[in-house]
Symmetry: C2
Subunit: 221 residues, 2 copies
């Protein structure tokens, strides 16, 4: 077996990603990561310094990969949300990493790779604004947030959301459920964005002006 520092590093990164996704920063075991990678524990310290730094490297790596896999919002926004939903459903690892990260760092802490991530969202919000024919204002960023949340939520607290699904009066297989949720997300986004540029924050009868107990029919049909 030839020596190959880059390959060792890559193996460690991949093993660490699995381990961190499963157990988080505190729960991950350095020894397990080394064993998964088939590499000595000390190599982790040689390559990355310590466990925390390894976690940050994993995050940067995973986010870069995700960015290349999912493009910017394009075409039909609702279908974009549907695609996003499917991605997280099939590949929950990234979401788990994000959750661990969010819980691990304090509310006001600096996230690893902050500037890169910010730039990425700038692009995404810009693309969304382009599709909607609006500017990248607060309302559009909020919508972006809502879009991502809609798509990611069912995979974020999967047990809880399965609990909710079990309530249905219809007997439901996993497959059915998946498409039902997907369809609902697409439907909600479609309706919400249908006439988005008309309903700005200062538009007549806009959001927040209706108050509790309103009839739920904004912007007159």
């Amino acid at each position: 077996m030839p020596r190959d520092a880059a390959a060792t590093r890559a193996k460690l990164l991949s093993a660490a990603r699995d381990e961190f996704a499963e157990h988080g920063v505190g729960g991950a075991r350095v020894e397990r990561i080394a064993k998964r990678a088939g590499v000595n524990k000390e190599r982790i310290y040689g390559h990355f310094g310590n466990k925390e730094a390894l976690f940050e490297a994993v995050m940067v790596d995973a986010l870069a990969e995700h960015t290349n896999g999912i493009g910017l919002p394009s075409g039909d926004i609702a279908e974009y949300a549907g695609r996003l939903y499917e991605f997280h459903r099939k590949n929950p690892q990234l979401l788990r990493l994000l959750m661990w990260e969010s819980l691990h760092y304090g509310e006001d802490a600096e996230l690893p790779g902050r500037e890169n991530r910010r730039a990425l969202y700038t692009e995404k919000v810009g693309a969304l604004a382009g599709l909607l024919g609006t500017r990248a204002d607060r309302r559009t960023t909020s919508l972006m947030m809502v879009l991502i949340g809609l798509a990611a939520w069912p995979s974020t607290l999967p047990q809880l959301n399965r609990l909710i699904s079990d309530v249905s009066e219809e007997p439901t297989s996993g497959e059915d459920l998946d498409t039902a949720v997907r369809d609902t997300i697409v439907e909600v986004v479609r309706k919400a964005t249908a006439d988005w540029s008309d309903g700005g924050p200062d538009g007549g009868g806009g959001p927040g002006g209706d108050g509790p107990g309103g009839d739920g029919r904004p912007e007159g049909s």
Copy 2:
């Protein structure tokens, strides 16, 4: 100081809730919990058995409290979502506990207090179906899930969502942001539920029948 088992138990439960919300099951320190409660560590084992059982007790306790605080969906559904958003925004502890729980237990594990929680969601979905004039079918449970997700998401990954918000071209204070997000959520829910009972899964041109590249204008209008 008189001896009072119930009071000791309550102090432990409260201290444990804080500790678990901050650090999760694995990261919580039994000694710290005891110190926070001003009680000897051993009392935890006397009252609850072990750390995991203490966590389950905390979850049941916290969920019961939340249930009493937030009622069933009623009145305007969109405003209900807005209220839910505000609750999680001001009181992120429960959401953090749910995230730790979700990450801690495997995808297929049994959640503590499962049956109680299920019953609670049955009520909620029932109330939602009543407001919408539909049955508690898959589509309604999916909507319930989406509603909760919408309201909870910004508080679930707060750092990430603040990153998205920072992208806005408008200068934004924390206060502004909060109301902008809230307004967006209310608006999205209002539009999505406006003619919910018309757009069922088998209705003409319903969700999922439009395919990618659709024009984003559902159901005629």
